[in-house]
């Protein structure tokens, strides 16, 4: 319901255009916002009703699933790649990413880990930049 409300608020701000045709650029998003709103209300009602009937438990991670905080930590490491790639460039950022994830996943901090991370980052550089010839982030420092 929150997403529907936010989306509708943004839909209202879509400028009107004379080139918009018979229904305009805001028509389809408006329908989507209303539909999601209706579904949101229905889901909430159903959830309330179901909870009254039975004491349903919230989702608890199984043994093959990480706890939410740990999962968010993994995403955080991925997010750090963005500033590191911008600052240091592709290969160093990739090296840091692979090393950080390996340590986060309980690999021992050793030369082996560092060597694997360096080898991996060079392998990706070779594959994307040299073989495929596609650009990767470049450092703003050097």
């Amino acid at each position: 319901m929150v997403i529907a409300a936010l989306y509708f608020a943004a839909t209202v701000q879509i400028p009107v255009s004379t080139l918009g045709g018979a229904v305009g650029p805001h028509a389809f998003p408006t329908v989507l916002a209303f539909l999601l709103g209706i579904i949101g209300v229905s889901l909430s009602l159903r959830s309330l009703f179901a909870r009254r009937l039975v004491h349903t438990k919230d989702h608890t991670p199984s043994e093959s699933e990480a706890k939410p905080l740990r999962a968010l930590g993994m995403l955080g490491i991925g997010a750090l790649y963005i500033p590191f790639a911008w600052l240091f460039g592709y290969v160093p950022a990739l090296f840091l990413l692979i090393t950080a994830i390996a340590l986060y996943e309980r690999a021992a901090p050793s030369w082996r880990t560092a060597t694997i991370a360096m080898g991996g980052s060079l392998l990706f550089w070779l594959l994307f930049v040299v073989v495929l010839g596609v650009r990767q982030p470049q450092s703003i420092l050097f």
Binding site: G21, S42, L43, S64, G78, I82, L97, I101, R106, A107
Partner: protein
């Protein structure tokens, strides 16, 4: 006579070598998330300038075939669809890998890819003319209805709750509305960001939902809880399994043939629809989503069929139905070849070369696959601590290549967070993914229809194809509601007793 000419082409020109290079290049591109079939082909375009026209077209067409197949490899092994069309393969493919059956899953996708490729090629050779007429019968109303049908099928069959499926589909459609409105040029939901003007590519959402959320979910989980180690070899399906897969492959081939003809429809819709139809007609529908071989066979047959049938409108009318077909059109134009009926009359040698090269590529898939795939299985069985880092690195590098901006990397991470939340609250991914894929098709054709009718919705009731497709969509939703209601009543009765 033509068989003899094809044989002459194989023995007197480097057609086999070019077809193999195109195929292997395509597989590599398809297997890398972010490198779509069209990008794989575009990277080859500069090399085609110096080639003879026939070889140039064969190189591009075989790269397309390879890329459509290649997308299934990371989908099965690391839950990352290499291409949009491979998203449906993730569901059962990755589940089989989780059960220590990656070799079997890869064997099924390889076999289905070959079957799909051969069927698609046969359709291309035999039915180009009549099938093209069918494509022309589709008007904007029909395309709109086709999109709605695709969504309703996925929503009604992809999860236990119709409401959650519908919410996920609408979220996907919402994502598809981000960017410049193609009709009016007005920016929507861009919040002043120039990076959002082009919209959010479906591959970002898919990689975020499937791959990033998977990396998050499995973080810190001991390897023993994440499936078994397995022998590093590909297991092609046994005769018994081949017989079992026949039905789902037929469904995939049929839907792939039909979807390939529709400009803009493409392999993604075909593979999703095939997955759901295969589930509906299967004798073991309960296995779907839990490692069903048919769940791999149907979408893989389908998207590999599309790789050939998508060339039908291109060669007949010069209408490129997808980005990849547009690159191929570029390749034809570079060499002064204009698609259309005259191409078949005046350059029959090039058409014959295209058919022959595609045949070589499809058949070679089996050999190349059997050689390459064991290495891939070995790679994904490395220690998890390093594997997770490599998968993240691959995902982020691949995504960056799409527009070469770190902004896209951010979008994928946000999509990953959404994916994790959806997984946590039990929302299915598939409707959201298909919503993003179909959003443009549904909205643009809805608005075209409205423009044609001056804003009268009755126009949808004047188009027989649209009426048919919308009726089927309605039946799917009603059927699903009835099924859900029955299950709820059964559960209620159980609780009372």
């Amino acid at each position: 006579m033509e068989l003899f000419q094809a044989f002459t082409l194989l023995t007197t020109t480097p057609l086999i070598v070019v077809a193999l290079i195109g195929l292997i290049w395509g597989i590599l591109g398809g297997a890398l998330p972010g490198i779509s079939p069209s990008i794989s082909m575009a990277l080859l375009l500069p090399f085609t300038y110096t080639l003879a026209p026939m070889l140039a077209i064969v190189l591009l067409a075989t790269a397309y075939i390879g890329a459509e197949y290649g997308g299934s490899i990371p989908a099965i092994l690391i839950r990352t669809p290499g291409t949009n069309a491979a998203a449906a393969t993730v569901l059962d493919g990755y589940e089989m890998r989780f059960q220590g059956r990656a070799g079997e899953a890869l064997g099924i996708s390889l076999w289905s890819g070959v079957i799909g490729g051969l069927v698609g090629l046969a359709m291309l050779i035999l039915l180009t003319e009549p099938l093209s007429r069918l494509a022309l019968a589709f008007r904007p109303m029909s395309y709109f209805a086709l999109g709605i049908l695709g969504l309703s099928v996925i929503v009604s069959l992809s999860g236990k709750s119709l409401l959650k499926g519908a919410a996920a589909a609408i979220l996907g459609l919402m994502v598809a509305t981000v960017g410049t409105d193609p009709n009016s040029g007005v920016g929507r939901f861009t919040f002043g960001s120039p990076e959002l003007l082009d919209g959010i590519a479906p591959i970002f959402v898919m990689v975020g939902l499937f791959a990033v959320s998977e990396l998050m979910t499995r973080s810190g989980v001991p390897a023993s809880a994440l499936g078994k180690q397995e022998p590093f070899r590909v297991r092609l399906p046994s005769l018994k399994l081949i017989m079992r897969l026949k039905r789902s492959q037929s469904i995939g081939a049929l839907i792939g043939t039909f979807e390939g003809l529709m400009p803009g429809a493409g392999g993604s819709i075909a593979s999703f629809l095939s997955y759901n139809e295969a589930k509906r007609w299967s004798k073991q529908p309960e296995e779907f989503g839990h490692g069903s071989p048919e769940g791999i066979a149907a979408p893989e047959t389908s998207n590999n069929t599309v790789a050939s049938t998508a060339l039908i409108p291109l060669l007949s009318f010069g209408i490129p139905g997808s980005n990849s077909a547009a690159i191929l059109l570029g390749g034809l134009l570079i060499h002064g070849l204009l698609p259309g009926p005259r191409l078949f009359e005046e350059n029959s040698d090039i058409i014959l070369g295209l058919y022959t090269g595609s045949f070589v590529a499809v058949v070679s898939l089996l050999i190349v696959g059997v050689l390459v795939l064991p290495v891939c299985i070995w790679l994904v069985n490395r220690p998890r601590a390093y594997l997770s880092g490599f998968i993240f690195a691959l995902v982020l590098s691949g995504i960056y290549t799409v527009h070469t901006t770190l902004f896209d990397v951010g979008i994928v991470l946000v999509a990953g967070l959404f994916g994790y939340a959806m997984r946590f609250f039990g929302f299915p991914f598939l409707p959201a993914v298909l919503g993003v894929v179909l959003g443009g098709l549904v909205e643009s054709n809805y608005r075209r229809s409205m423009d044609l009718s001056g804003g009268e919705h009755a126009i949808f009731l004047e188009d027989p194809i649209a009426i048919g497709l919308l009726s089927v969509a309605f039946l799917f939703v009603v059927g699903s509601l009835v099924r859900e209601g029955r299950e709820a009543m059964r559960a209620g009765r159980k609780m009372q007793s």
